[in-house]
């Protein structure tokens, strides 16, 4: 599903060039559940942004479902973000003034298609938050907010969920809840790629990719 060939990303800070990724080559198959770990500054988030169509690589090739997506226009990338992936962030990134339901149907506004309310409700049910549909983010716990964010990621039925430190701001009980939701989604056939720096969370996936200074230093199956 995801084929990365020599992906390189260089940020320019004035005259200094800062390489964030130095030639990443990876294959992630449909249905996998993968953890990406590494120290901060190792390039995990940059990699996630490129895989999630939020950013473009400076060099290299990115094939998604066999199609080259490394040179798409901004508008085409927006469509890919809307239809193909669901993104879950560490800080939830919900609209503070909108209800849970309105947050979940946000991708549908930009993606089109009918029955927005119904599909958003179904998505909320999937993460067990149907009863909280009318609540604003400030009225929800951190774990609940992250579940709303997952519901939003699911609403367009993407084949891939990308999660960037999804449990970084959560207590252990909520963390366990979120991880079990991801495992359930993976069993339903959705590919899950998760960035984390906690080994015990990474060990609940099937495969751990370790980054250091913008390079893959190990890639192994979880026993």
């Amino acid at each position: 599903m995801i084929e990365l060939e020599n992906i390189t990303k260089i940020y320019r800070m004035g005259k200094v060039e800062v390489p964030a990724l130095r030639g990443i080559t990876l294959d992630i198959k449909q249905g996998e559940m993968v953890a990406i770990i590494g120290a901060s500054g190792s390039g995990k988030s940059t990699l996630m942004n490129i895989v999630g169509f939020l950013d473009k690589p400076t060099l290299g090739r990115y094939l998604f479902d066999g199609a080259d997506v490394s040179r798409l226009s901004d508008n085409q990338l927006a469509v890919m973000r809307n239809k193909k992936v669901g993104f879950v962030f560490q800080t939830y990134n919900l609209l503070p003034r909108a209800s849970a339901l309105s947050n979940v149907d946000l991708p549908l506004i930009y993606g089109g298609g009918g029955q927005k309310r119904k599909r958003a409700m179904e998505s909320l049910e999937r993460v067990g938050l149907a009863t909280r549909a009318k609540h604003k983010p400030t009225e929800l716990s951190g774990g609940e907010q992250q579940r709303v964010a997952i519901a939003r990621a699911l609403v367009n039925n993407p084949a891939l969920i990308l999660a960037d430190e999804p449990t970084g701001n959560l207590d252990s009980a909520s963390t366990a809840e979120i991880i079990s939701i991801f495992r359930q989604l993976n069993q339903d056939g959705i590919t899950v790629v998760m960035v984390t720096h906690e080994m015990d969370i990474a060990e609940q996936t099937q495969r751990i990719i370790r980054l250091l200074d913008g390079k893959v230093i190990s890639d192994e199956k979880v026993a």
Partner: protein
């Protein structure tokens, strides 16, 4: 993304910042209401002047002296024009077919005195036909042919003049002084309504034109005859206007011995032309005032742009979230543009209502002050005001909206 949804998003975000939205709208409200009040007031003024002139009669032509050597409208200015018309000219015009009557008139400002009471007034030196210009006699009689022939010291008072000078007393038979000369009041006119340049048409005093010429304000033509300032010509109907105008021209050119290659030493103006000229003037004045008032709209649009820029910065993270879930550049652009347009559209609507109310208040004050002005708001004004409001919203929203649309989603998401 559908338009309706963008509009809903825009409304929601305006509602979320009620105070800020309403303060921003205030600029538009003030600007639009100033323009609307001025346009409605201007239209009211135009209607007022038009109806005043129509009160004076529309089947009337006025012949006045003019200086053939002076350029354009200056030819009719009192300083330029030499006295060229006489009572004989008026009689000659009276013989033209379709002319029902002529009212030669001399006009000036005078001081009236009765006992201790003094009054500034407009005097009309004229003939019996004057009352055909739209006056009726309330009591006594009007100036007669005999009065004119024998230059009698008799006066007919306008209804307001009589009221101010005599209060409840009966003016008939009383002696008044006009510029220190004694006249006997023989009649009072009934109220006509209307006013010209602040002087009520009922605040006049009429005397025989011959008396005016010899006893009050003597003025002679170059030929040595007594001069007439203007000749009102009452025409049988609108259809005869053109023929009568041509006949008057021929008659007067013959009488004044004007060669074919020389210009007229008189001007013929119809009431229609005067109405047209006044409408033009009030129209230009109100457009000019509206242009000044629209400076307020310019200030308002800078206000909108300012607020939209603040709003884009404040909502950088929201923009990032929207982009992360698939919003395209034009979706974000549309959202912020619609927000600015909605802001100014609502402001414009409120401004129209407020401006209309303002112009009604102005009408009431003007009416109390003696000018029966009726402010008039035309649908065209409303359409223009709404269009201008939306245009201002779009024009001042486009730059902030483009900045929002151009934001990079990752940077926007990490904005604190």
């Amino acid at each position: 993304m559908k338009f309706i949804e963008s509009f809903t998003i825009a409304l929601r975000s305006l509602f979320a910042n009620k105070l800020r939205s309403s303060l921003t709208m205030l600029g538009i409200i003030i600007g639009v209401s100033a323009v609307i009040a001025i346009m409605a007031g201007g239209r009211g003024m135009e209607n007022y002047v038009t109806s005043t002139l129509e009160d004076m009669g529309t089947d009337i032509l006025y012949v006045t002296p003019s200086n053939p050597n002076a350029p354009g409208a200056a030819a009719m200015a009192p300083g330029y024009a030499t006295a060229t018309l006489t009572l004989d000219d008026a009689e000659a015009i009276a013989r033209i077919p379709s002319v029902l009557g002529v009212a030669p008139t001399n006009e000036n400002f005078v001081e009236l005195t009765f006992g201790d009471e003094t009054l500034a007034s407009v005097i009309e030196g004229t003939t019996p036909e004057f009352k055909d210009l739209g006056y009726d006699i309330a009591s006594g009689q009007f100036i007669t042919e005999r009065n004119v022939a024998s230059r009698d010291m008799v006066a007919v008072l306008g209804s307001e003049t009589a009221k101010k000078l005599f209060s409840d007393e009966d003016p008939l038979g009383q002696k008044i002084k006009i510029n220190e000369k004694r006249f006997t009041v023989v009649g009072v006119l009934s109220s006509k309504g209307g006013a010209m340049f602040g002087f009520s048409l009922d605040e006049i005093v009429a005397v025989p034109i011959t008396t005016y010429q010899t006893r009050l304000f003597p003025q002679r033509t170059p030929g040595g005859e007594d001069a007439v300032q203007s000749i009102g010509v009452i025409v049988s109907g609108p259809e005869a206007m053109d023929n009568v105008t041509a006949d008057i021209e021929t008659t007067l050119r013959n009488r004044h011995r004007i060669d074919e290659d020389e210009k007229d030493d008189f001007t013929i103006v119809s009431m229609e032309q005067m109405i047209g000229a006044f409408s033009d003037i009030t129209g230009v004045v109100s457009i000019f005032l509206a242009a000044i008032a629209s400076i307020g709209l310019l200030v308002a649009s800078i206000g909108i742009m300012n607020i939209m820029l603040v709003s884009v910065t404040e909502r950088t993270r929201e923009i990032g979230i929207r982009k992360a879930v698939g919003a395209k550049r034009r979706d974000i652009l549309l959202q912020f543009l619609l927000e600015a347009a909605t802001l100014s559209l609502i402001g414009g609507g409120a401004g129209i209502a407020f401006g209309w109310a303002l112009s009604l208040v102005i009408s009431i004050i003007a009416t109390l002050a003696g000018f029966p002005l009726q402010a008039t708001l035309s649908p065209l004004h409303v359409i223009i005001a709404v269009g201008v409001s939306v245009f201002i919203g779009l024009a001042s929203g486009i730059y902030p909206a483009m900045r929002a649309a151009r934001l990079n989603p990752i940077d926007a998401l990490h904005y604190e």
